[in-house]
Symmetry: C2
Subunit: 335 residues, 2 copies
DNA sequence: TTGTATGCGTTATCAT
DNA sequence: ATGATAACGCATACAA
């Protein structure tokens, strides 16, 4: 593997000193038009690419951002991909590359990456209420942005979707449609155990709005939703009431449970969901839904991160919330 | 942002020279038990992490692999994620990190990453028949593995799923079930235009097997599959014949088209698919299908790549094929 | 078995 | 406006 041209080679070809080449790249001092031209020509002629390692060593910036990803998680793959794509594109605009770290490496992964100066900042996804990585970040003096909201956000920069509003919007939609009780097919015990904060916030949004509208709610955990099936079998609209359905996790299972009983969303019951737009639209009956917007989250994270990096400040404390909006589709009567 | 401890600091604390610390890490010369212990203690005490940039500069290895990903593509997000996860895990086993590059950067992205010595090797996904990156790789003297098979594989290392066998298996399954003609809902013009080789290989597999069994085939491009809908409306089994259905792209659209007409896979027609296992299983009627195995591909790529890296040889020419297998589910009569 | 010294390719501080 | 030169932190050839 050939060693590749260095800035010294460029300098020689352009007939200038090596430091001049460096200054041409950084733009940190004024260069005469003539010199600039010769250096740029030489760089092009040699197909010169600065050595990233040498840069990181001398300049103590890597132009790399690490993103700690929860692969085998409750997250939808499409969402994750959308988030990552958007983030990588935003990073490239600022001339940054993206290093992938699995959440499986846990706190050690963060330590390794930051300690080894492989990146200038990190994004940590899928944050739990009691997240050890939050504690580490506080001691780190290193820009980290969290996606999700740990219980104690002191000294942390967080971004998240407004799950509480999402819960509220879905309940209000069903209430407006005249439903008198709610059945929720939601996250299973495994997710709750791992203490994903957003599940609690969503539940709080649902509960709050349901109480305000005096609607009783029964919860069922996906995917082992025997209870949910029982509700369907017992009849959705007993005693002249009307049961509205909210689905979060276990969407395909829930839709299948309906289909197997010949129940059509929008005709036999109002069904709303918290899911991706793609999921909402690819159902046999497209779903009225609040969709998390991974690209919006991604853009907000990138914006905030590069503001930090460019300013050189430590991560500014605070939680940024991405707005939730409901889109009506055929699964609710009045679409 | 503090500078962090260096190997010099470790050396001082352990009462040895800096080079000894380095040799402890690399294991490239024998160290007395006593020295080893003191150095390791010092490293632990200081929470020492070697500076990645300095390492790359001095050792000319980055311990990083770039993976060039096709985000907004015909690829399924779940497949991509599975591939990436598996690869990152494999990479960590060999003490490598993974850098993400978008295919949107095209050939320049590859050039930038390899030229800047940000990685020791690269994996290029979603390769087209006439892929410029293949030409670049041939001139690069740098380990690159392609996922997908360009037309000219001279000097390239490629790994891919056996799409031709996939097509054959699906046709044979339908033939064995007594179908006398085939209807294929497949990739749309956009994918074909971009010349994804695997589409052609799949089609070849279908065509070859269909000819061998003397089955007529009609093709419909997803998602604008008006022709497919017309076939359904015209009646699937005219003239005492029997039409078997193969779905590749546009699966959800195809299933919806069936559902809207009250057609149930496995009852009214045999339906098979080339899709992910998750997709096959989450349908109302689970699908008999050949599934690409992203994790198998990933493992094969990783295995081959690290063999190259460890051996220090240039990428060994040749195409590795990941076996295709069919799994029977309820969408074909005899499940 | 261990220490000394050099170089990797940049950035940035002195000079001029 | 430009050139020398000293770090940056590690790997490794050379000495002992």
């Amino acid at each position: 593997m050939g060693r590749g041209p260095t800035s010294k080679d460029v300098a020689r070809l352009a007939g200038v000193s090596q430091s001049t080449v460096s200054y041409v790249m950084s733009g940190k001092r004024s260069i005469s038009a003539e010199t600039l031209r010769r250096v740029e020509e030489a760089m092009a002629a040699l197909n010169y690419q600065p050595h990233a390692g040498a840069r990181a060593l001398a300049g103590s910036r890597t132009n790399t951002i690490a993103i700690v990803m929860p692969f085998a998680s409750a997250y939808d793959a499409g969402q994750l991909m959308a988030f990552v794509e958007e983030f990588v594109l935003a990073a490239r605009v600022h001339d940054y590359d993206v290093l992938l770290v699995t959440a499986e490496e846990g706190i050690e992964g963060l330590r390794r990456i930051t300690g080894g100066r492989q990146c200038d900042a990190a994004v940590v996804m899928q944050v739990t209420a009691q997240d050890q990585r939050a504690d580490l970040a506080r001691t780190l003096d290193f820009p980290v942005i969290f996606i999700g909201v740990p219980e104690d956000t002191t000294g942390l920069a967080c971004v998240d979707f407004d799950f509480e509003a999402a819960g509220r919007l879905l309940v209000e939609e069903l209430a407006d449609l005249g439903n008198t009780r709610l059945s929720v097919l939601g996250w299973g015990a495994d997710s709750v155990d791992r203490d994903y904060n957003y599940i609690g916030r969503f539940a709080r949004g649902v509960t709050g709005a349901a109480e305000a509208h005096r609607l009783p709610v029964d919860w069922h955990l996906a995917p082992a939703a025997d209870g949910f099936a029982a509700v369907l079998d017992a009849g959705l609209h007993p005693d002249g009431g009307r049961t509205g359905i909210i689905m979060t996790a276990g969407l395909s299972g829930g839709m299948r449970a309906l289909a197997l009983r010949g129940l059509v969303p929008g005709r036999d019951a109002d069904v709303v969901a918290l899911c991706t737009e793609a999921e909402a639209e690819e159902q046999v009956v497209p779903l009225t839904a609040v969709s998390t917007q991974p690209r919006d989250v991604s853009r907000m994270v990138a914006e905030r991160l590069f503001a930090l990096i460019d300013a050189g400040r430590p991560a500014q404390e605070g939680v940024d919330i991405v707005t939730a909006t409901l889109v009506r589709r055929a699964s609710t009567g009045r679409a």
